[in-house]
């Protein structure tokens, strides 16, 4: 079996004495797209820079295509790693044209081959009309496309993208993320991006690693991260949700303030060791139902177009979130009927934290 295109084994990075990345391991198979997701300052960019070769590792190994490129005993020079890097601020060279920017890393090619490669990439990223322009004339999205074309030109083994869409406006972000994903998939390029935006990560990546305080909390696909987070911290970071107290009744039921949940209907339910548990309720687990005997008072409501996100207060004072179609328009202060519709249930031993997000 071919080795993974990118593999990290127990990698730690220390900068000026501070442990920034702490024993991280994961791998991305050839052609896959991985993402490191985390709040700013969590160490994800440092990790990406270590893969690129800009920062040394203090423990562990980084392997590209099965070959060690970084270890505490030494690191292969950046220019010999064949990694492409797309920077947060794009970092286009302002003194040369778009075409020259793209051709920057392929000076070793003969000039007709170089031109052909520039044309090919320009076509792929739909920037054919900009080749003669200078970077300061381009919009943010155009700069991003050029930066990606430039990084892809030398056919890198892995493409690294550092917060690639953070400087773009929200609407452009997801469109471009999907488009770039298509290009990468079409070309069969292994890629690794860093993001603090989960929707961007969901739109781009096959597998996502949640990073907090330099540690990798979970490495999984988007669906699993959302529905079966491995820890409270992951649950906290991905999506919105509320922890509600529950009590195991026998082996197959959890009693909560919002009713009893039959755990036999839930896929892969992992039972915690304790009797007293906390369960994570996503807003889409709490349905609006006027006929329901369980009522909750509306504390806050946020209009999101197709849906309302209601913050509800139960009799106990506990608050939960509920998504309701936007024609169910209730006023703040009114009671509203709700019922649970839980397909995925995440339970942790009981913790005293009331609201995650």
């Amino acid at each position: 079996m071919a080795p993974p295109a990118l593999q990290l084994d127990n990698v730690s990075v220390r900068l000026s004495g501070h442990l920034i990345v702490d024993s991280v391991s994961f791998s991305v198979s050839a052609g896959g797209i991985g993402c490191l997701l985390g709040a700013s300052g969590c160490g994800k960019t440092t990790l990406l820079r270590a893969i690129a070769g800009f920062e040394p590792v203090s423990t562990g190994e980084i392997l590209l295509d099965g070959a060690v490129v970084s270890s505490p005993s030494g690191a292969l020079e950046i220019e010999k790693r064949h990694v492409g890097m797309v920077f947060q601020d794009h970092s286009l060279f302002p003194h040369i044209s778009v075409a020259e920017n793209i051709a920057f890393g392929i000076q070793a090619l003969s000039s007709p081959m170089r031109e052909a490669r520039v044309k090919e990439l320009a076509g792929l990223l739909e920037i054919g009309g900009l080749l003669g322009a200078y970077p300061h004339r381009l919009s943010g999205g155009q700069q991003q496309r050029v930066a990606i074309a430039r990084a892809l030109a030398p056919r890198p083994e892995v493409l690294l993208l550092d917060e690639p869409f953070s400087s773009l406006d929200v609407e452009l972000r997801e469109t471009l993320a999907r488009e770039i994903r298509l290009v990468l998939k079409q070309e069969g390029i292994t890629a690794m991006l860093v993001s603090h935006n989960q929707f961007e990560a969901f739109a781009m990546a096959d597998e996502i690693g949640v990073v907090k305080s330099g540690r990798l909390l979970q490495w999984d696909n988007a669906f699993n991260l959302y529905h079966t987070p491995a820890s409270l911290a992951v649950a906290d970071f991905i999506g919105e949700g509320v922890l509600v107290d529950g009590q195991m009744i026998g082996k197959n039921a959890v009693e909560t303030e919002l009713g009893i949940i039959d755990t036999r209907e839930i896929e892969n339910f992992k039972l915690p060791d304790t009797k007293e548990i906390s369960i994570l309720l996503r807003p889409d687990d709490v349905l609006h139902d006027d006929a329901s005997p369980i009522k909750a008072r509306i504390v806050e409501k946020a209009f999101r177009g197709a849906v309302f996100l209601y913050t509800l207060e139960l009799e106990s004072g506990k608050r939960v979130l509920s998504l309701a179609p936007s024609h169910h328009d209730h006023d703040v202060g009114e009671p509203m009927g709700i019922r649970l519709d839980v397909k995925h249930l995440v339970a942790f031993p009981k913790l005293p934290s009331p609201i995650c997000r």
């Binding site: 000026s16 690129a52 800009f54 950046i78 060279f93 920057f104 890393g105």
Partner: protein, 547 residues
């Protein structure tokens, strides 16, 4: 129009008179003088000036660019010291370094004497480079002007986003080729700005070329006016020189605009500097050490030795007189420059009109004018004015007022203002732009009156800039030689004039006293500059980087 902007325009017209006078001189006939100049010396002026400019270009680029790169991209013991020490030669006026090296390297100087003693040679038996030559002048000017290139190149390198260099590295460039393919081209506009400033200074130099006996425009202007007695001829030469200066000014402002396009973004942090060891460390010390030691340390030591030898004859009543004259001129000019700069800056802030910004632009041209050009441009209208007044007074009251203005220190201060007001304007403007209009509005919305805002908001924020403006003009006046030489009242001496006179009497050791005084005073703004440099580079270290 309101009185404030109106007086602003009037002020700029008055201070721009020298330029208009010099330029309009081309419409007058200078008689035979021009034919004489054209046939005899003009070609030499031009070829010498070009030779100087070419040589100084090579010199300042060689001395300025590489150290700037080394102190920004590499870390080695002493690199922080070099970072500011490389600016020190700015404190030595070109004419003083020329006098110093001549004293050291001349036939009778210590170096050649020691060589003769050591090897038993006698004069004429051996070859030694002649310091009083074009090559020598190029070396002198390069040694004191290179900090302009260094300063701008360093700022450009330090301001380059590290990710741009990293992008080049990730595209297969080594650190070296990334320098040549990215860092250097990106810094090019800034380097050209520094180079144009060096060349303006080269064209403006009078003291060095005069002492080395090299005929250039500045010495020619002096000779034509003083020796040949032709004011119009001198003004026409000045106009020609001004043509060259304007070309440099346009190159400079074009490059400044270009530099903005080459801006690599706001989230710049310095690249993690690479440590240097072994042979490369040695080369780094040579590259950074040569400019500092030859441009500052060696001349300073020589001046100190001479000054201590001649210390008995330095502290005389005469010296106190020169010192007083210099300080008084500098104090009056810097105070006047500060008041005018404040008047202009607030005028433009309160009444922002197209015309007033054009007026400010005209005023800012003064920094590029060589002292000799300013002198000619000031002298002609003042002499005319004196004659008019005098004729009027004779006709009316039978009383001859003589040279009412042009024979006094007033004309000197006026000439200094033409030349140095832009420096005060820049500094004051920089201070005032720190106070955004919204801050005024915030103050007003809290119920503060205009005077209270001025006292509680503007004064505390501006204080530093105002002090800097005063200091910069003060020291520049202290150093100024050619305009002072041409315009000073009879028997009126300053430190700079005294240095010049003693050097020209070949009493170089005696000149060390006033020269050293000028150098030490000039050190103050250079130290201020290097401190602001330090603060600008005081960015978060690697661990604190925004991630």
């Amino acid at each position: 129009m309101k009185p404030w902007p109106l007086s602003l325009i009037a002020l700029s017209l008055i201070l721009a008179t020298p330029i208009f006078v010099v330029l309009s001189s081309v419409f007058f006939s200078a008689g035979d003088i021009w034919t004489h100049l054209f046939e005899t010396v003009l070609a030499r002026y031009i070829s010498n000036s070009f030779a100087l400019m070419t040589g100084v270009s090579i010199g300042v680029l060689a001395l300025g660019v590489l150290p700037a790169w080394l102190v920004t991209a590499y870390r080695f013991p002493g690199s922080k010291v070099f970072e500011w020490a490389l600016l020190l030669p700015l404190a030595i006026p070109a004419y003083i370094i020329a006098y110093t090296y001549t004293g050291m390297l001349d036939v009778a100087g210590p170096l050649q004497s020691n060589l003769r003693d050591a090897f038993g040679w006698s004069y004429g038996e051996y070859w030694f480079p002649e310091i009083r030559s074009i090559g020598g002048a190029i070396a002198m000017l390069s040694l004191v002007f290179y900090p302009y290139v260094y300063l701008l190149a360093r700022a450009a390198f330090a301001g380059q986003s590290a990710s741009v260099m990293e992008a080049a590295r990730s595209l297969g460039c080594s650190q070296r080729s990334a320098f040549f393919r990215v860092a250097l081209p990106l810094a090019r506009p800034a380097i050209v700005v520094g180079l144009s400033i060096c060349l303006m200074e080269t064209l403006a130099d009078y003291g060095t070329v005069q002492y080395f006996g090299i005929s250039t425009f500045t010495t020619g202007i002096y000779r034509t006016w003083n020796g040949l007695g032709s004011t119009v001829g001198a003004a026409q030469l000045a106009a020609l020189l001004l043509g060259f200066v304007f070309i440099l000014v346009s190159i400079e402002s074009w490059s400044r605009k270009q530099a903005q396009f080459f801006n690599t973004g706001s989230n710049a942090w310095p690249s993690p500097a690479v440590p240097l060891v072994g042979g490369r460390l040695f080369i780094a010390y040579l590259v950074c050490g040569i400019p500092v030691s030859l441009g500052f340390v060696v001349p300073l030591i020589q001046l100190s030795i001479w000054a201590s030898i001649t210390s008995d004859s330095i502290m005389t009543a005469d010296f106190a007189g020169y010192l007083f004259n210099s300080l008084a001129l500098a104090a009056i000019t810097s105070a006047a420059a500060l008041i005018l700069a404040l008047f202009i800056a607030y005028g433009r802030r309160l009444y922002p009109t197209q015309l007033s910004s054009v007026a400010a632009r005209v005023l800012s041209l003064g920094y590029a004018l060589p002292g000799t050009v300013v002198a000619i441009g000031v002298l002609v209208p003042f002499a005319w004015l004196d004659n008019q007044v005098s004729a009027f007074m004779v006709a009316r009251f039978d009383f001859n007022t003589g040279l009412l203005l042009s024979g006094t220190a007033f004309i000197l201060v006026f000439a200094y203002l033409v030349r140095f007001l832009p420096i005060a304007m820049n500094t004051v403007d920089a201070g005032l732009t720190k106070i955004r209009p919204s801050m005024d509005e915030a103050g007003r919305s809290m119920g503060l009156g205009p005077m209270t805002i001025l006292r509680r908001l503007h004064m505390p924020i501006m204080r530093g800039s105002l002090a800097t403006a005063l200091l910069l003009v003060f020291v520049d006046v202290l150093k100024e030689l050619p305009a002072t030489l041409l315009l000073r009242p009879f028997n009126f001496n300053t430190l700079a004039i005294r240095t010049y006179e003693l050097a020209n009497e070949e009493r170089l050791a005696d000149a060390a006293g006033p020269a050293l005084t000028i150098v030490l005073a000039s050190l103050i703004p250079v130290i201020l500059l290097s401190r602001s440099l330090e603060r600008a580079t005081n960015v978060p270290s690697v661990g604190e980087k925004p991630r």
